[in-house]
Amino acid sequence: MRPALFSRSASLGTPLLLAFLALAVLGLAGCATKPPASDPDALADYQQTNDPLEPTNRVFYAINNGLDTVILRPAALAYRYVVPEPVRNGLHNVLSNIGSPVQLTNDVLEGKPRRAGDTTMRFLINTTVGVLGIFDVATKWGYPDHDADFGMTLANWGVPEGPFLFLPVLGPSDPRDAAGFGVDIAFDPFTWVGTGPNKPGWKAFKWSRFGVGAIDSRERVLDATDSITKTALDPYATFRSLYRQHRRAQIEQLENDHRSTSPDWYPPPAAPAAK
């Protein structure tokens, strides 16, 4: 099982939609009942879960689930049925290649030069040799992919994740990742090109990217989500747990990436003289 349940693509939605969502969350905010101090175990559980907006979150979870059942999941199943595997992989690679500018910006902001180098090389190689990003040649040539988004960058800067949020359409999140999502849209050059009237080509491109991106992300987690809804007693709590664990793992991987920036032939710094 690959737990990248909700791979984050910066192409979804618009800032306006986000503002609306933020208002909706504030307006509907029902609060979970905090257990009394006389029950320290329950209180510790409550604090560890850190989901004070749980009733509201569950409402959005139910709405999302409904939308998923009637729209996104059937679309993803149809996509899997109609489009052969190699074509799906090619489309996925193209989408991920288009996301390189956002990835690179975050690599730089995270102060990870080797990651920024990987992203740059991947973009150059896959756009040319990989035919506009269809084939991921760069991974075979020693430039593997990694995750980078502004939520991770904020975490790297020491911003805490905050309470759990389940956002309409976007799914599991937290204030840090929701803010990161908006900033990533602003980082994306495609947000700013072709915005004027009479640009039908750009409009078509943006909407196809959005649509194919949503269906591609959903198709890739079909098996994982199906098996979770089948095996979990409380799927909401399971998705909450998985989302957080997965984000923590991504951030940990980022923070542990200490690859040196000096080339192999460059003499390493002299070790302190032995006494």
Partner: protein, 203 residues
């Protein structure tokens, strides 16, 4: 001079011992994971009906996995609140849930292979890293947490891409119990339902 050297040796030897013991533990843990993994892969990719595979899987779970320990961990603070009878019924069901959930996924893992990575000690437990490769899927990093690696190795957790199996299960149960008046009997009947539903599909 000689005295000083032998003194040094005396000091150095005990200091070195834990290091080599740890190295031995990680080696044993790696060998253990390799052998369990090989058997799992053989079951998944092997011929035979679902019922036979389920039986073989149960055998591996009973011999190589500390199912009771994981079960206690997953019930968390509710383990102490449960009566001995509830604890017993819960653990019996937990064994079945684990087998059912794993057998339900066998189809997804057709053609699976894995490669061994490095092993390290974390407190008293060994963490053995592997990379699991399924056809048409990106490779997945899977860590196996092994208790008592030197004497009686048992798997106590599986961490796939940073998500822990037992922690996820524990938070699932905790949430279910919180929404059902902390009633362990409610959890037990929910587990029964689940086995009845998923077990039929798995055959």
């Amino acid at each position: 001079m000689i005295l000083r050297r032998s003194l040094l040796t005396l000091v150095a030897v005990p200091a070195l011992l834990p290091v080599s013991a740890r190295a031995q533990s990680t080696e044993k843990a790696s060998a253990f994971v390799k052998s369990t993994g090989d058997r799992l892969v053989a079951i998944v990719n092997g011929p035979g009906a679902a019922a036979g595979k389920r039986a073989a899987m149960t055998q591996i779970l009973n011999s190589d996995v500390d199912v009771d320990g994981i079960g206690r961990f997953c019930l968390g603070r509710f383990w102490r609140q449960a009566t001995p009878d509830q604890q017993k019924r819960y653990l019996e069901l937990f064994h079945q849930v684990l087998v059912t959930n794993i057998t339900a996924k066998l189809g997804e893992y057709q053609g699976v292979t894995f490669t061994m990575g490095r092993a390290r000690m974390q407190d008293d437990e060994a963490v053995v890293s592997t990379t699991v490769v399924r056809p048409n899927n990106p490779p997945t990093g899977v860590d196996w947490i092994i208790a008592d690696p030197a004497s009686a190795p048992k798997i106590i957790d599986v961490v796939a891409e940073g998500t822990s199996l037992r922690l996820t299960q524990r938070q699932d149960y905790a949430s279910y119990l919180t929404h059902n008046n902390n009633n362990v009997d409610a959890l037990i009947s929910a587990m029964k339902n689940q086995i009845a539903q998923n077990g039929n599909q798995a055959g």
